[in-house]
């Protein structure tokens, strides 16, 4: 690291030289301009620059904070780029973070300078700490500089196979960023997405599906193999990921399964609404007839999303609701009602979106929301758009049974102080009146009463609605038309006046005395009317001329003359047209004969329908649905396929051949309990849906104990299958392609220590050395070459009052902290009563740092359990002392590690080995010559013996007589290099190079004993 720093500083030095050159130009030009305003501004930034270049972190931090404040206000701070970017490798975390924020904001504008920071991130990508790797990738991929696309691509590919699920998650995020920067990378990115989709970690799932949706939403074939896994993981994915996955799965299911709605292939969604009343019954009948069998995968999706209706995240609830709406059989959709109604108590904006969705649903299926009608009652404190949505829904819900209640409620709304809302209510009343013929008359009476309301908008709206209603049944209502004619003088709203005029004209024969009089009045005020009123006046005149020309001929001509010279061309046009049509002259020809039939044709009544009628063409819950236009990037929900595509594509067999052979029986009958669930492992929990709660809680507690068990989750089934495989078939049968295999092993080994008891049976079967080929990193930690079976007594059953404990070193990198050595403890209860509350008691604060296992609630007689523990031995063989406690007793125990257990194997090339060895000479070298035992003269026995003593990795060697082994210490990561050189007469020189001057000789002693023995 120190060398790295130096090199960076060198770079920094050269940068600043460049900057000076760049700075000078703007300075001079600015000074030349000489504007007071600019110069003060410049000065201010100058002092920021000075602060950034000082060597005090606090000053730099202050400067950065001020710069961030500038950015937040939207001010331009890009000229500080060179000064800021120099601090990208700062040790101060906050400073570094702020520099990142700045860098991401301005990198696009200052591409060349931004490149200077890249090397820092590239270095951090190799950091042993997963969080640092992740944040480096995050910032690197956020720098929108096209030149670094290849670097980003490489980094993403590498991170996608990182051990840490968190880093893999970050790489999924980076995919989208790279795609938006350079869409040409699509093909490569799809490969990475495909790889990450196979990931079993809940952390990764949401992010990779997001990337899938962004990059290649049409590649539905990538989902097949992962469909069941995604369904099963869904509950444990973080909430934002759930939304994305559910939306994607909705689309997927619509392409893969047949419709659960149709019985005999006759009903589609739309025709079903017409049959609404009998709809439920029919669906049930259909089920009984067995004409439709739901695909088990379809069922799986519905079942696994249902619990999410209980989520606190409203977006999740609505996404499940839309999934049910679009995918579930009609009689099951009801489950979403209650949850949607619950959301109405949430924030105003949430209400808005939820109500919109309910409005669309309630048009098709009133029955769903009718019991909750009162939840849609309007409150005076609601915002206007909420009020109108609630009105909309109430109107849709109205039927013969509840219309009286709803109308009573509407009456109070009409009196509301919010006039816009009152007008909306009147329209709603109109809709109810047309939809439900029983109340048409009542509504009409009520609306007529409103005509005498003092508020203009209310009256106007009433007139318009009455007009529409009258059109539906004009015969009986001449008195209402008369009443409206009387009101005509008092109404000023143009729309209302126009409506009355239209009514007069349309039904002029029913009110023969009044209509000409109205026309007379209009002739008087024609010039001062609004355009829409003028048009209707012309219409009225024409109609009267045709029916009652005796009285109105002159009036009509007068109006037509006025219209001829009107300013509005629409009115002039209309006048000209009407004149030609009705006034007989030689040119008018045949058309004049039909004037009456043209103008007074019976007109169909307008249909008053909801504005939400056509919104169901969009998927519910989407932005497009909310704004009722197709938003960019909206993905259509396809229609159900007539014939279901091949179901077997979802069978997972290529990757996990063994798992299939074990599990297919349970996959078919999912409710049967499986033996493996007892271990309470996460992956199994998802798989077996009929598990008991006890298992769930136990699995929960095991999850808690390890911070990255999501990783174990990911690989558990793989490891499981892998183990099976190795036991059944010897290694030559490994058919998996090599890179995948490497990852398996990696994960297998990393998660090994937390694989539950039931699996520990297999633990000793993996003796095959792991041929890791990751050559990228010098100190790549690899899996152990050999795990000794030897276990040590921790607590004898006599001293432990029946509790016996044994420990062994599984030689895995510790999950809790990389500096810890993992220890497996098997606890056995040899008494005849259960032991409760087994846990690790208080430790000496000055002692070694340990990560304890979670307390074991109860250990039954004759039962045993294996737990894992992490101990940071600080690279010394000092024993870890602690208390092992049960409910009643405490036992002091200690773990004494052999020096060889404090290492982690490393892989490196022979070349690297020599190079490193060259650096560790002198004091760091210890060697001894021994006489080898006769059998220990070939490669394999030597490797075996060395591996037994110490957890070291084999370094491939070109020479037959020299064997090399490498590792690093767990705590400090210091290199340990072992060379065994065979000489004549079975003599051998053992050399150990390490900077740990205590450990070297100790290891040498152990090795001497092992190799020289016998």
């Amino acid at each position: 690291m120190s060398t790295n720093n130096l090199s960076y500083n060198d770079q920094g030095g050269s940068d600043s030289a460049v900057e000076v050159g760049q700075e000078t130009t703007p300075t001079s030009s600015n000074a030349g301009a000489g504007f007071g305003l600019f110069s003060t501004n410049f000065k201010k930034n100058d002092d920021l620059k000075e602060m950034l270049e000082s060597n005090k972190d606090s000053l730099k931090l202050d400067a950065m904070k001020r710069i961030i404040a500038l950015i937040a206000k939207g001010k331009n701070a890009s000229e500080l780029f060179p000064a800021v970017v120099k601090n990208v490798a700062s040790k101060n975390i906050e400073l570094k973070k702020l520099v990142y924020v700045y860098l991401v904001r301005y990198a696009e504008e200052q591409q060349d300078l931004a490149l200077l920071s890249i090397s820092t991130f590239q270095r951090a990508l190799k950091d042993p700490n997963q969080l640092i790797r992740a944040s480096a990738l995050r910032v690197l991929s956020s720098i929108r500089v096209p030149i670094i696309v290849p670097i980003m691509m490489l980094a993403i590919k590498e991170a996608a196979s990182d051990m840490s699920p968190y880093v893999r998650k970050t790489s999924a995020h980076a995919i989208q960023k790279l795609y938006s920067l350079d869409p040409d990378q699509k093909e490569h990115l799809i490969e990475v997405i495909d790889k990450l989709l196979k990931d079993k970690s809940t952390l990764v799932a949401g992010s990779v599906v997001m990337a899938f949706e962004e990059v290649c939403p049409d590649r539905i074939d990538l989902i097949h193999k992962n469909y069941r896994k995604l369904c099963n993981l869904l509950v444990d994915v973080e909430e934002w990921g759930q939304v994305v996955i559910i939306t994607m799965l909705t689309r997927y299911a619509r392409t893969q399964f047949t419709s659960p709605w149709k019985e005999d292939g006759l009903f589609d969604e739309n025709s079903e609404t017409a049959f609404y009343e009998s709809d439920e019954k029919k669906t049930k009948n259909g089920d009984e007839k067995k004409s439709y069998m739901m695909d088990p995968d379809h069922r799986l999706l519905l079942r696994n999303t249902k619990p999410l209706l209980q989520s606190r995240n409203t977006a999740v609830v609505v996404s499940v609701a839309q999934l049910y709406w679009h995918l579930a059989p009609k009689h099951e959709v009801g489950v979403i009602t209650k949850s949607l109604v619950r959301l109405l108590r949430s924030h105003r904006e949430v209400q808005y979106v939820v109500l919109q969705n309910i409005a669309t649903m309630s048009i098709q299926r009133k029955g769903m929301f009718e019991p909750y009608m009162k939840s849609f009652y309007v409150r005076s404190t609601d915002a206007t758009h909420i009020k109108s949505l609630k009105l909309e829904i109430l109107t849709s819900l109205a039927n013969e049974a509840n219309i009286s209640t709803i109308l009573r409620e509407f009456q109070t709304y009409v009196k509301s102080q919010d006039k816009q809302f009152a007008a909306g209510t009147i329209q709603a009343i109109g809709r109810c009146a047309t939809n439900i013929s029983e109340v048409t008359d009542t509504c009409l009476q009520g609306l007529v009463l409103l005509l005498s309301n003092r508020d203009e908008t209310v009256v106007a709206e009433s007139v318009v609605v009455i007009k529409k209603l009258l059109q539906t049944q004009p015969t009986q209502h001449s008195d209402i038309i008369k009443h409206m004619a009387k009101l005509f003088d008092n109404i000023a709203v143009p729309m209302a006046r126009a409506s009355i005029l239209w009514l007069m004209g349309e039904y002029c024969e029913r009110v023969p005395q009044i209509a000409p009089d109205v026309l007379r009045k209009m002739a008087k005020s024609f010039t001062s009317e609004e355009d829409i009123v003028k048009l209707q006046t012309v219409n009225l005149a024409a109609k009267l001329y045709l029916t009652n020309s005796k009285q109105t001929k002159l009036l009509t001509q007068y109006i037509l003359n006025l219209g001829k010279y009107d300013q509005n061309y629409d009115i002039r046009d209309r006048t000209r047209f009407i004149r030609q049509l009705i006034v007989p002259n030689e040119k008018s020809g045949a058309l004049g004969k039909y004037a009456r039939r043209i103008l007074l044709a019976p007109k169909p009544a307008p249909v008053l329908e909801s504005t939400y009628k056509d919104r169901d063409r969009y998927q519910l819950g989407t932005l497009s649905h909310t704004i009722n236009t197709k938003a960019s990037g909206y993905l259509e929900l396809s229609d159900w396929p007539a014939v279901a595509p091949d179901q077997s594509v979802r069978n997972v067999e290529v990757i996990e051949p063994v798992r299939r052979s074990i599990f297919t029986s349970t996959a078919r009958s999912r409710s049967s309990p499986r033996p493996y669930t007892k271990g309470g492992h996460d992956q199994f929990r998802h798989f077996n849906t009929a598990e008991s709660d006890e298992e769930k809680s136990s699995s929960q507690s095991s999850e808690e104990s390890d911070k990255s068990s999501s990783q174990s989750e990911k690989s558990s089934s793989e490891s499981d299958s892998e183990q099976k495989k190795t036991t059944k078939k010897p290694p030559q049968k490994k058919t998996v392609k090599p890179t995948a295999k490497d990852r398996y092993y990696n994960e297998l080994f990393n998660t090994y220590s937390c694989v539950p008891v039931s699996l520990s049976l297999f633990s000793l079967c993996i003796l095959t050395p792991c041929p890791l080929s990751c050559a990228a990193l010098l100190l790549q930690v690899s899996g152990p070459a050999f795990v000794p079976e030897k276990s040590h007594d921790l607590l004898h059953r006599m001293t432990g009052k029946g509790l016996s404990a044994q420990y062994q070193f599984p030689r895995q990198p510790c999950l809790y902290q990389p500096t810890m050595v993992s220890v497996q403890i098997s606890l056995t209860n040899t008494t005849d009563h259960p032991l409760e509350q087994i846990h690790i008691g208080d430790r000496d604060p000055t002692g070694l740092d340990m990560h304890c296992f979670n307390a074991i609630e109860c250990l039954l007689p004759e039962a045993s359990v294996t737990v894992s523990l992490g101990v940071d031995f600080n690279d010394s063989t000092q024993a870890a002392n602690f208390q092992l406690c049960t409910k009643e007793d405490q036992f002091s125990v200690s773990i004494q590690p052999a020096v060889g257990e404090l290492f982690l194997p490393a892989t490196m090339t022979e070349q690297d080995f020599r190079k490193e060895q060259g650096k560790l000479l002198g004091m760091n070298e210890s060697s001894a010559t021994i006489t080898m035992a006769a059998e220990n003269t070939t490669r394999q026995p030597i490797s075996r013996q060395v591996a037994t003593v110490a957890n070291l990795g084999v370094v491939p060697s070109g020479q037959d007589n020299i064997h090399r082994f490498a590792g690093k210490t767990a705590s400090s990561g210091a290199l340990v290099l072992v060379t065994v050189e065979l000489r004549e007469l079975s003599a051998a020189l053992i050399t150990i190079n390490t900077e740990k001057s205590v450990m070297g000789p100790m290891l040498l002693r152990d090795l001497k004993r092992a190799l020289a023995r016998a």
Binding site: P307, R342, H385, E704
Partner: protein
Amino acid sequence: MIHSLFLVNSSGDIFLEKHWKSVVSRSVCDYFFEAQERASEPENVPPVIPTPHHYLISVLRHRIYFVAVIQSEVPPLFVIEFLHRVVDTFQDYFGVCTEAAIKDNVVVVYELLEEMLDNGFPLATESNILKELIKPPTILRTVVNTITGSTNVGEQLPTGQLSVVPWRRTGVKYTNNEAYFDVVEEIDAIIDKSGSTITAEIQGVIDACVKLTGMPDLTLSFMNPRLLDDVSFHPCVRFKRWEAERILSFIPPDGNFRLLSYHVSSQNLVAIPVYVKHNITFREGSSQGRFELTLGPKQTMGKGVEAVLVSSQLPRGVLNTNLNPTQGTYTFDPVTKLLSWDVGKINPQKLPSLKGSMSLQAGASKPDENPTINIQFKIQQSALSGLKVNRLDMYGEKYKPFKGIKYMTKAGKFQIATR
């Protein structure tokens, strides 16, 4: 997903902007300002506004608009929910979420926003994780920071993000281990002029403040869990256990959090705890109106009704009022026509009332709209639905925690129609 965020104050100034992808010019907000001008009330600005190239999704909290800029299809609730989560986080960090507080802590705000979204996709929204990353500012820490030059950014890397219990940070330690639960119920009701209930429902929450060392595993059971048939949970609650046994089993987040919220619908009859007698009349032709209001308790299970506040929007025609409260104080704003009466506690022996006259615009005809009366109140130590916690047990740690539970009923949207 979320492209940019603009914070707009009530006077229509953008006082903070943050971009997660390439920069979107703040001129995009002009569409928002247009909509804002069109709206009569601040609440009436539509939450989703389409513009030619972007979509604006906004929420209004504490008189600040949080305007998110979206470029392509995304569930609108996803954005809305996230924005509310941002506001909650600010409130959590700064105590209040005001323009001043945000401006004072602009660096912390920026750091938070940076952590909460990556490329527009939510990354860390759990307050426990965020607090590990960025420590909330306190007065003491600010002082210490200025002296020592240390920072608000956590020195240690957060591990919570990596764990399967992402809501709880590791290594929690307290000297006093305490767990408090507040059962708070809000009753929403619409009462008609004759005093009969049109609709009433209860919205309840259980808020918890848990300060326990280590990794405690809690179970909470109820005397009458059947009441809870419509619930939503914090992600920490084990759903299967609830389904099977109706017991809440969870590893709690550290600090304050909302454990669950529930809804008791209007179908289960809800007892209304207060009643209002009112007589508000305007006479035709006269410029005077009469106003009488009396409050009384009803079905409160022996608990006192406190912090009563009555407010009503009087018709526009009312010029002024001349009223006499028997207790508390009342105010009338002649501009907004808002009458509010701070009653305080209701004494069942001597019912509070507000009587007097209203003066109307001379010559104007009598107002035909009906004022609605909104009431707020609190009832301590009682949950209206009758929900009762049975017991709280802790597993996984061996100390004895101090446990406490508190019940409270509040009025939510409680309104009474007068005509």
